[in-house]
Symmetry: C2
Subunit: 633 residues, 2 copies
Amino acid sequence: MTSGTELLDAIRRAGADLDVPCGGKGTCGKCVVRVAGGEVDSNSLGALSGASVADGYVLACQTRVLDVEVVVEVPQSSADERGKFSDTDETHLLRRELLPRDFEYDPLATKWLVNVAAPQLGDGLSDLDRLTRAIQQDWGKIQTTYPLAVIRTVADVVREAGGLVTVTLVREPGQMHIVRVEPGDTTTRHLGIAVDIGTTTVAVQLIDLCHGNVMATRTAYNGQIGCGLDVISRINYARRPERLEELRTRVLETINRLIRQVCASHDVDPCELCNAVLSGNTTMSHLLLGLKPEYIRLDPYVPTVGQFPYLRARETGIEIAPDSWIYLSPCVGSYVGGDITAGILCTDLATDTDEVNLFVDIGTNGELVVGNRDFLMTCACSAGPAFEGGGIDCGMRAAVGAIEKVQVDPKTGMPRCSTIGEVKPRGVCGSGMIGLLADLYLTGWIDSGGRLDRSRPCPAICIDGKRARYVLAEAQESGTGQEIAVSETDIDNILRAKAAIYSACALMIRHLEMEFTDLAHMYIAGGFGRFLDLEKAIVIGLIPDIPREKFRYIGNSSLMGSYMVAISQDYCRRQTELAQRMTCIELSSEAAYMDQYTAALFLPHTDRELFPSVHPARAHRHVGQGGHVAVQP
Amino acid sequence: MTSGTELLDAIRRAGADLDVPCGGKGTCGKCVVRVAGGEVDSNSLGALSGASVADGYVLACQTRVLDVEVVVEVPQSSADERGKFSDTDETHLLRRELLPRDFEYDPLATKWLVNVAAPQLGDGLSDLDRLTRAIQQDWGKIQTTYPLAVIRTVADVVREAGGLVTVTLVREPGQMHIVRVEPGDTTTRHLGIAVDIGTTTVAVQLIDLCHGNVMATRTAYNGQIGCGLDVISRINYARRPERLEELRTRVLETINRLIRQVCASHDVDPCELCNAVLSGNTTMSHLLLGLKPEYIRLDPYVPTVGQFPYLRARETGIEIAPDSWIYLSPCVGSYVGGDITAGILCTDLATDTDEVNLFVDIGTNGELVVGNRDFLMTCACSAGPAFEGGGIDCGMRAAVGAIEKVQVDPKTGMPRCSTIGEVKPRGVCGSGMIGLLADLYLTGWIDSGGRLDRSRPCPAICIDGKRARYVLAEAQESGTGQEIAVSETDIDNILRAKAAIYSACALMIRHLEMEFTDLAHMYIAGGFGRFLDLEKAIVIGLIPDIPREKFRYIGNSSLMGSYMVAISQDYCRRQTELAQRMTCIELSSEAAYMDQYTAALFLPHTDRELFPSVHPARAHRHVGQGGHVAVQP
């Protein structure tokens, strides 16, 4: 080890894995290790107790190496954390029925068959000239660019099949890029990918660009998770160039692994993929490209790039055909990114309507867009990764083994769970958490503050000192061999997440001097489950208590929007226009936001009149107030 | 060694150097080696005598390895050949006085100072947006492209010097590429390079793009020489992909070494260089880019690329600023390349004149352009590398130590030589060869067939069996410690080279139904010396016997034209227009060419009336005819 090196970096370089959910700021305490030998300079006191520090425990992110050799014990518990981020090979279902029916099929990357004239001495035309002329016969006199690697193949390709050449081309304003040339007619096989780069989850979709079919989808946790759970932690982590490069490499590894998986499922060589459309929030987009994200979180919150330039796969590190176009959905501001400009393509916000619609994407960050053809306003709030299983002890993605539905017996308080894939439960996904909280509240087993009822005996409720937890599956019933339980801390995390979302929605609507009921539709996107039980989401106060027919749950709209851009030039253009029309509002600068947020930290809300259809069992309204109240019918 | 490998490849892989001037076709016999152990399959009989083959000698290029281990003796003589291709650090003088005085100074790569607005929350503009707006304020709403590596620097650069940013930009039709951004005002330091990629010699010039000054020039033999002396040999050599890659790497090594040299001479980091303009013949241009050159030499002689697309340094392997523009001069046909479209920029052919001008570039290939503002015709002929010192035993480039002038004493036949740099002679360059032949002919020491006079005693003429040689410097007088002599074989090579050039010129002029005297000017370009003694070039019949004021010797016009393009957009546009206007004529398809060539193989020509001003001493007109004739005054 070089003296002065941060201990966290040294440990990672030595091959050990250590998560820093806070991004290395010394606040989460997850990178605690014990220094067994060698001298270090540590600033861990305060975060750790004096006794721990005396025993040699330090926060790796707050410690510098002073000796040539330092011996460190990495506790098992830290490495274990990663278990819940393991990947499964489930197909992540899209709400295909929500795909627009009227879009024009015209993919960003087009395969085009041309007939190249034979070489002739007299005409002075090179191989490239003749190929360009053949293309221009169909496409007009547009400027045509060729990457060097493509030019290297041209001489043989134009001669191999008697001049019959399949050209893969992409169009930008004023020019056309040739990304591949192949001898003969290969137009019947044409493939691309759509990618959603979530802070927590990455999804990759293989697309048959000939017919617009989705062939396979795979999801995995973003490999950057070990460097911070949310975007702020990642930005903190990226403060040194080698760490920025580490984050870039980590997400690339995730994306490239998923690309190999979707390809392997259909016996496709990744080099056949001629186009990738990726959508991620502003920080994810910047990190993917190795752009310093620091200014995203510094006043005045201006990112380096909004509309991304033309990028080739080889310069980004995405392992598809090296000269194919890597299209990143445009970002509107530091906290409203490409996942949102892709997401609203799946809603009426992308249509020419007078009606006002609200789009909410519930991910690690929550983002909102509200508007119609005349105006589009957007804002973001920090929900945390709870709905995707992050920051929840037994949380997990909506993958096989995730508890996605929970029913609580009103009398016994015991749960009945159903898991994705109908296997032994391995954890709880977002929709499971919402269902559980709603049922516990409706049946009176938690109060509106999220506190479990300690007054009635219930085998599912385990009390451990001041804190209680609700056990969904005993160790022997679980697929992991460990108890699956939701603690009051987990419940608090969910409450904070739903409060952030709800209060942001309420504030935006108030901003427009409207009511929720004035909305034509409220679109809900997010990765918290395959389905969202609207009634239960209303019970916990995540979404407003308005007529149910106004809701549209659209799942992973960032992925679906990416897919729509990949298969439609028209949607690509629409996306750019929408991004340019959107106005960002900074919620943190609104004085009313904190009040709204605090009021929303209860089930369903402090102001019960906002949720007239929610009727909890009043058996144990407030533990400690004493007395029983009859359960309302 | 893998069984079946070509022995030549195996020997090179083992680290030994073996030249194949013929490109590995088995015709030059330079790659002869002796197999001392192990089995091979050789096809060397015919090229080598039966006795040699019996002794184990083979041509490495015609032999395949059959055993796992084969022991080979590489004769010293073959490696020694390389000695004459060693580099010296001379400054290669340009005819700076020939630079046009009326050109518009406007370099391809421009440094431009802009003021980028400070980031603001409200305006929705990213760092890149604000930078682009600042550029567009000066340059209009042109589409602007940024490479990813540049975008990675933007966030810090726009903030570092209060928004003052120096942008390096290059313009293409309809768009502008940003190749670098730097904080603050760096417009006073702006550098680029011009490169001539000759088949034999490569020249690199460092240019101060702020003022258009040439700061340094370095030349070296093209590293591909070991793989063939002329373009046909190189094309033959490149027939396998790994050999094409070898040729690409070899010329890149030469260019990059010269770049480092010119940079080191002025304490410049090669990464500061923002633009490179390179000119080479069609084969050299293709090999530099790794394009298969095979079709160049196959009927109908159509190259892959004529007008080269926008290329970045990083994709070509040229080691300057990685995103800077690599501009290659356009090629007109398989045998009329970028060296010619660059070269004619130095002549009145690039001006709007009625007068007909002839441009001749005498290199390893000879290329001609004739025309005026109404027409431009061009053709090529194969002269061989003799004028650049290739294929001549003691030949060398016009570098320090080269004999560049020779005077022969009419009575004694003894030479008086002067060398570049006034040091001990190391070899003879093209101008020295021309001077020597002219003087030997005028003084009667060689006849018009190039045969040395054996009838008069002269210490400089050494007779060795049937062949004779003319000694310019004894071993003890020479800078190499070895005798410097010109053999009758060398003289034959020069005669063939000059015959190829002269007959091509004569044929072109006849094609136009003109006479040489109808030309306004005849421009002569070439790397055979710093200066060309016109009188002597006429004596040997290299150029026609017309009024001397019509001649313009313009030296390395490919390098000068590259320089002119680098410092002037206008010349860049003119070059493209000229290339499009040029019509190629295939001399080999003209029946008259062979007759013209054969007639030109004598000094000065079979038809003495074409050279009325050449009066040789008639003392020994034809050795063997006997009798002395009085020397004419």
